[in-house]
Amino acid sequence: MKTDIEEINRNIYDIKNKDEYDFKIKKGLTKEIIEEISKQKNDPEWMREIRLKALETYNKLELPTWGPDLSELNMDDIATYVRPKTKMTDNWDDVPDDIKNTFDRLGIPEAEKRSLAGVGAQYDSEVVYHSMKKELLEQGVIYTDMESAVRDYPEIVKEHFMKCVPMSNHKFVALHAAVWSGGSFVYVPKGVKVEIPLQSYFRLNSPESGQFEHTLIIVEEGASLHFIEGCSAPKYNKVNLHAGCVELYVKDNAYLRYSTIENWSKNMMNLNTKRAIVGKNAQIDWVSGSFGSHISMLYPMSVLNGEGAKTEYTGISFAGKNQNLDTGFKVIHNAPNTSSVVNSKSISKNGGICTYRALTKINENAKGSKCSVSCESLMLDDISRSDTIPVNDIRNDDIEFSHEAKIGKISDKTIFYLMSRGISEEDAKAMIVRGFAYPISKELPVEYAVEMNNLINLELEGSIG
């Protein structure tokens, strides 16, 4: 019965389309396969070389020796490139019906009309739709898929691609660089303030496949942007893999807010890498909601290279049965008077595992820097787990540092209080969990906050034993 409920819960996310594609690479990871992907994608020579070098790096690197067990993942079972049966368009009407219906159900075109300045939608390995408001185009803002960027802005891409996150960083970054496809490229020129968010949505429909989108965002001096990414997939019995890479360049006095709502299906290995390099008096804010996936390893990183650079990380994860969400935040204070603020919350139930894993490094030169970390975990039963693993590497004395971690259960007193108002135990728990998540959900764009509350309600339905 339980399983039925969980299946119904994900309703809109789980509607899968027929596994139809224009081209699906054979499973596995060999030089021939990489060459074939490169050929299929009409890579320029320099990109082909990056891919091949990345494959070599991949083969040399070991799996991480810490964190969740990744032994279920076998690259021989994963198709790394699946081209949908359509070409990219800026007109929804041209998107094939089954793909269009998928994004319609997820509310993407609706959100574009209401509250977004631009939208990208990726289906399996390729972006199928991209559009942006004319005003932004006139201001010189570029928002396009990564393939077009490689073709149309090769100099910018060459200068930045896999430079913020080196491919030797870890095995799945190397994998990403070898097989990457799709993703978004954003360039905001000096001084341009993009007031309304841009959003890219990533949907993986094809079973036993991977999504490896690359997001490259450059916010020039004094410019600002809010970028939102959403991800989901229907559930299959076999493992799917997501190993995206996000590289963000926030130049002096610039501002970038990067919001993610991840609701992958529970057969997904989400091994994603995100990093921002932040200039003088610039700021990057990460807002991150992790609800889906079987295993996640995700630790966005801010490198505060400019004096007075700031970063904030606001994250929530919710792990249920068979979910191991290993998430956190890394920050390197690499200049004087830099500051970082972390506010992380996690909820685990039904045997789910949430781990907050973090690195805070404050270098010798980062005098006058401030770092404050707050982690709170809520466990809804006795079989779930929650852990906080912070690593602090602090190399000068002239700093302020605070770390606060709280692990707790739902208070029986609070449940009693709510029940004394005629509210059932189940509804009371959902209300408490929503309240716990509230400081994070209020940071999310409103549609996502609503979606998050719905997810919490659905996740808690029938979970009271």
């Binding site: 007193k413 609070t414 004394s420 005629g422 009371a428």
Partner: protein, 245 residues
Amino acid sequence: MNELLKIENLHANVGEKEILKGLNLEIKKGETHVIMGPNGSGKSTLANVILNNPVYTKTAGNIEFEGENINNLKTDEIARKGIFMSFQSPEEIPGISVMNFLKYAKNKTTGQPVKVFQFKEEIAKNMEELKMNASYINRNLNVGFSGGEKKKTEILQMLTLQPKLAILDETDSGLDVDAIRIVSKGIKMFSNENNATLIITHGTKILKELDVDYVHILVNGQIVTTKGGELAKEIEENGYAQYIS
């Protein structure tokens, strides 16, 4: 039927320790009852046991509400029967505004949809009577409220939910004279011939402006004396000494 609450020979434990030791109490519609007693006598336990707080175990006795045994009902079911409790330390509930909480609780207790416009007007009026700043309606329930504001919000909930029996557990404790006056005004606004109030208190200030029908003295888990409103005055002057054997 005038009978609301009837408690017979109630025994209750917290853990292994017996707190209520054979308590009897009857409350009829239209009545205002007061329970007084020294610290640790079991006053708050009584309120919690009536609402079946799982921290306490009933070991003997019966609680009937409108002729129905409610011993084994869950707290939310008891609330839906029409019993309300104002808490000594109300919980903070982030993520839901006072207005949305009132709407939600009203809907849950009555099972009826709330007529929003009328509902909002009524709440605004009650908040004015309770001298609550109108902005509180949009704040998260009890989050960062002062002790006094929390207690007023409890009274606002009582006025909104219109229970048949309101139990006020030390609602006056920690309040200054003005706040106590506002709380007793709220109780007066609430009281009518179809409902009843059970006030658990340490002090007598809250009783000054109320028409109290019965004052019960609770000592060591039992009601040892019951008299009219004049008993409160007597306690104020002489304390509980004569009732503690």
